[in-house]
Symmetry: D2
Subunit: 350 residues, 4 copies
């Protein structure tokens, strides 16, 4: 059983997104402003469309917190979909509201539509799209913010940065690359890096494959919608062994390293250096330019449906990855230190 475990729910145009987190130590101060600021960060970024402006997400907490602190019981977070009133009928829970409005049947290349409709035996692709949408990452960021609050208590902090947009590796060129892409009615991906500092030695383990923190981080980041590649530390291609491995030295009486190519992980364990994980996001699969597809009703050629106007979401995606990395680290911290209250955790770590 994981120590920091949770489930999330919610459709893109449903009433709200929800998460229940179970396993957070008691006594943790829950700073709602911080959670909201993380939600805000996710909605920013050059290249996002108009929906983002609509949303301005805020979280509501309905359990697990009393007078600003966790009490050990499961925490419920919810984020309303602000546009829900316009979608109430289309997304109704009730059978009596059934309508074909907003139904669609042309598979969008690059999306869950095709596989999802077969797997779940659905004719209206909206029933797949609504959950496969990246909208669900909003509540994931809220969960990550709670994980970050745990980590902060023991001095662990994280950040992220976009390192490439399309072919552009220089930050000065990112906006230009996005503008050009928008003009073409196309979309574009990119690469980002997430860095966490002040990580204790020995999270994860070498003793069994599924305890490796590298694998757990890779799972958490690769499963973000649109991520297709994940790297830990520096990509070793082009290095030989004597260049790549991080040699030890003693500085001011402390053991340290002369480099951090390994991204803070050796043998599936954190080694005390900064944790560095990068990922590549594919171009958003919904774009102005239409793609060739099939209509599942007629089995004939058709143009894929256009629903959303982001050109590039790499900055937002980096925020989501930061959140997910926080989940993994928080879980590993609680597995290693096993604490029921934040006071106990601090006494064991510090």
């Amino acid at each position: 059983m994981e120590k920091f475990r949770f489930l999330t729910s919610g459709e893109s145009h449903g009433k709200c997104l929800t998460a229940i987190i179970e396993g957070v130590p008691s006594g943790l101060e829950i700073d709602i402003d911080f959670i909201n600021s993380e939600l805000h960060r996710r909605q920013q970024g050059y290249g996002r469309g108009d929906r983002m402006k609509l949303e301005s997400d805020t979280v509501e907490i309905t359990s697990g917190v009393r007078f600003g602190k966790t009490i050990g019981s499961p925490i419920t977070l919810s984020v309303k979909n602000r546009d829900f009133e316009n979608w109430q009928k289309v997304m109704s829970v009730s059978p009596s509201d059934q309508t074909d409005d907003k139904a669609f049947s042309v598979y969008r290349p690059g999306h869950a539509d095709y596989a999802g409709s077969i797997k779940y035996n659905q004719q209206d692709l909206r029933n797949i799209l609504e959950r496969s949408s990246a909208r669900k990452t909003a509540i994931e960021v809220a969960v990550g913010a709670v994980a970050k609050l745990i980590l902060k208590q023991i001095g662990i902090t994280g950040s992220s940065e976009v390192t490439q947009i399309g072919a552009a590796c220089c930050p000065d060129k990112f906006h230009q690359e996005i503008d050009l892409t928008r003009e073409k009615g196309d979309s574009i991906g990119g690469k980002f890096v997430v860095i966490y500092k002040n990580i204790p030695v020995g999270l994860g383990s070498h003793v069994h494959w599924d305890r490796g923190i590298d694998g757990r981080l890779a799972q958490a980041v690769m499963s973000i919608p649109a991520i297709k590649a994940v790297e830990i530390g520096d990509n070793p291609l082009g290095f030989c062994g004597s260049e790549y491995h991080d040699e030890f030295e003693i500085k001011d009486g402390e053991i340290c390293r002369t480099s951090n190519h390994a991204g803070g992980i050796e043998g599936g364990m954190t080694n005390g250096q900064d944790l560095v994980i990068s990922a590549v996001m594919k171009p958003i699969p919904t774009m102005m330019k239409s793609l060739e597809s099939i209509d599942l009703k007629t089995n004939q050629k058709a143009q894929a449906h256009y629903e959303r106007s982001d050109v590039c979401a790499v900055e937002s995606c980096a925020v989501v990855a930061e959140a997910r990395v926080a989940w993994v680290i928080a879980n590993e911290i609680l597995l290693k230190y096993g604490s029921d209250s934040i006071e106990e955790l601090k006494s064991r770590v510090l």
Copy 2:
């Protein structure tokens, strides 16, 4: 609870490696020669050292199989360490045999030594090295061979190929690159691709992050010792959206795609195309050239211990990755079709 679950054990120079697999459907023919041939494939590859020749691994099955077929109960696989007689005393289970022979105390950069010794409170780094060694992947390949036997029954087959060694992307240059590296007393990494064919639509899911098969594959591959990067399908950097996404077409009355950039996964689910996953292996961290390090006994500078003579193990690593991908697919197949016997599985899939 996973459907195809297992634990592995064994030290590099211990008596044997063992695995128990639980959840394999009954009635599956277990072809021991096939398992052994997979073990053999793992031991091949240009650039491996002498120990590989010693080993020539073979598997013994001690439970779960009767008259050549599984009976539903857990399967025990074991692979002897052929050199054990020379290590019996050094690796003895018994306290009375305790010795300092083969103890070592200089952290090897790039290995689990440093973090592992702190985490597990060990002074003799052999107590970490013995399990962190890639030797344990032998039994993982045996487990993967069992998974492949399940997959074969429903027509799914896998293979792998080395695509880069160091800077060389052309297979003709791989041996040369390795030879040059050996001459320098150095080591070298590379990249490989694993491909599985004939995958049903709808393994994994978009509905919850931890059901995504992309994340599960990434975990399984990234946690292989020495892997630092994982990609699913083509790396999207440099593609714009209209180029990257795999358009639909109808060919001979069947829905198909004009490309497979996505590597067979959209929305965290298999889409019926070939599953394509690549990974980058770092150079082996043990090499003739010594690296700067620290002796944990003296806290003084020291040269990292040299134990093994492989220059390059990318080919072997690809075989390990093939095995691990087989685990993930087999588990997903059994989650989706949920079968207790192989006959039941076939009737549901085919």
Copy 3:
């Protein structure tokens, strides 16, 4: 990973109880009236206090269901605490509302107070009581109702019955026993039986201890607040082997049994007979009569706090057990048949 998995949350006097269920096949009709009728059943029963009348729980669904049917994505259920407006300040999430109103510090014997306050480092026992309260079983019953809806699709139905109240084994005497207990200001427990019919052969397994459905049922029922004993089938004490075991016979060409002492489970698997599981509930630990205790603030003798007026809740508890047994069976069904849609499930079971 379990197939029917969920988390629940919510404090007894918080805003609401919530559950997220993940893994329900798509295409399942969600009959909200049925869920509400199960919630209603839980609130009935001779011996309950006044709060029950206040509550009259109803469920709201905010995700996972569209036009009356599941779509494969996680389902969110919530049940409001009707009395919340009176508790808003006492149960506030916000630090600025902090108050000592309703704080208490005398451990109640038979409750989680003592262990919980130590484990979670809490001085106000309300922070334990609010979650340990049986109030949380309301949302569990809602989750069970969803499980029952799955089971109904394949013809499986459940019911429960109180079989003993205190020393009274005859239903005619139950009300009398409860009335006498109320007069004394005391509380009383009892025993009930849960029966599910039309169970397929082979849920659970003999091959590994944690696959046994008997163990999983026992966990689900024993962890209901106040349950102290669980039996599957008839208690074997007093039977010898030749009397206890259920012999086979052929009736109308079908294999059947001459008895069902085993309660439908042999070797950790369902055998096609009715599933029969009984449990014993302890007397409610909050009662008019006070119990000797300690005040954690003073470490001095004190009388345990009195909060609630139920005398006997065995009938309600049976409804909770029915719900939990439904979870276990639904999970086993989905593990065995592994279906993504209800159509697929029906085609595999029937």
Copy 4:
């Protein structure tokens, strides 16, 4: 992910039983004599048949332990089946040895035969019997002995006692009851209690149903072959609330209780009192007296096969339950204290 996790394997007449345990802290002294003494205890008991005398089980450890101490890596235990040479052909892994010797096809009432053969699609019931046999509890006892070694380090100790055989509740009458049953060619069950002392406060939790230690204990004990009822503490039937709940008092400045009806668990958590769990074992379903059954080959009436000669195994079963309770407690200890080495564990608990 559980902290103390393991898989077991092995058929009753196969080569050996095996277990791999993953998650044991490093630095734990493994006393093989203690493990063997636990295996011996399991084989004792008035009422057992001759096979027990044959067996005299001893454990071999092939991984995870060096010089008498654990090193953090998975531990492999194996117990040989001493009679294997006589069964080699019948239980051969190889297809070429296939034989009908020892095949059988008459379902034994009370066993896994019927459900197992349908679930796993087997015609030879030996393929079910070999794993459903209680023989597999030998390796479970070995796993439990390792768990006990962890517990001993922090002062936790366990024991068990038979409290009823058939109708006899007085130990003086147990042998007589067994002798009478043997004379009748019948079998008999009974009841036992397992007690663990010196348990820390706060194992398990009230915050989510599946964290309750009562449920986890019930699962572990109810899934022992032949167990049909489990109780924690005193069965509350016949007590009213004011009698049952364990009042607090202060003695020598320490908080303690005036009774332990709750068996050391309130609100799903340990409360620092002795952990008390009882279970009822059904009569062994294989006995001299034959039972009415069906032959699956002919679908005709037949007499159930007789394989084994135990009359009563309640004493042995109590030893198995002790072992399983040790698993659960060890897992909870490691979840709560989360330690990687035994030194770390001791520093956190003591």
